[in-house]
Symmetry: C2
Subunit: 111 residues, 2 copies
DNA sequence: TTCTCATTCACCATTTTGGTTGACTGAAGG
DNA sequence: CCTTCAGTCAACCAAAATGGTGAATGAGAA
């Protein structure tokens, strides 16, 4: 198998590609920092599973963790999401650039 | 295990979470519609693997296919990507809403 | 001291993913 | 007729992701 380079764009996309993780992000954004247990209580899923989802979000840079002994306060970190719409913006501008060039050729076939 | 609902947001995120598929999209956006073989020739990967990646993009609605007998012309379809930044925009506005409420409480503690 | 609590760790089973190879299809060209 | 060609389909494989259970941790309360 090919070695999987750990580019952060893939990591962020993958993190938000899971509905549970998106739901976690939504809750955190709406309600502010919460403990792991508080987050887990919203889901029909084991605490461990939620803890793992949180770690995925954390390594992707989408949430931060403030550990106060037993309690870990998890907070959304939306800065990283700029990476994503930057990528899409770039994609769309390349697309429009190509369409414009195409348009020019159609309007000015003699050049 | 929990049944995996096939929501289209997850599908789109998952599709673009792979570097090869992002590269495919980029090529298509820059160069316009291409055949499966032409796309595959850019990668150090079997034609079959690329064919599969293309199908993932297709079912996610990120590319379209125009089949002219043997040749399949693959084209980028960027409309679907609006779904993604709509989701992030919503997330960030919820975030700012909460911060603003917080700010109000801090500035006006007596209300 | 013992019990509680929040969380991670270590392991296990199942599913998904990314890739390979080989067979198949069916028009078009010799 | 036979071969070529573009692409999919099917079977298979290894690795990673998902989720579960149960144990470990270690401060603080009783």
């Amino acid at each position: 198998m090919v070695e999987r380079e750990s580019d952060s764009l893939s990591e962020v996309f993958k993190a938000v590609s899971d509905p549970t993780r998106r739901a976690l992000l939504t809750i955190l954004v709406q309600e502010g920092p919460l403990r792991v247990t508080d987050l887990a209580s919203r889901f029909d899923m084991s605490l461990n599973a939620i803890s793992k989802h949180i770690r995925v979000l954390e390594t992707a840079g989408l949430v931060s963790r403030e550990t106060r002994w037993r309690e870990h306060l998890i907070a959304a970190e939306l800065e990283r999401t700029r990476l994503i719409d930057a990528w899409f913006r770039q994609l769309r501008s390349a697309w429009e650039l190509r369409l414009n060039r195409l348009q020019e050729v159609l309007e000015d076939p003699e050049t």
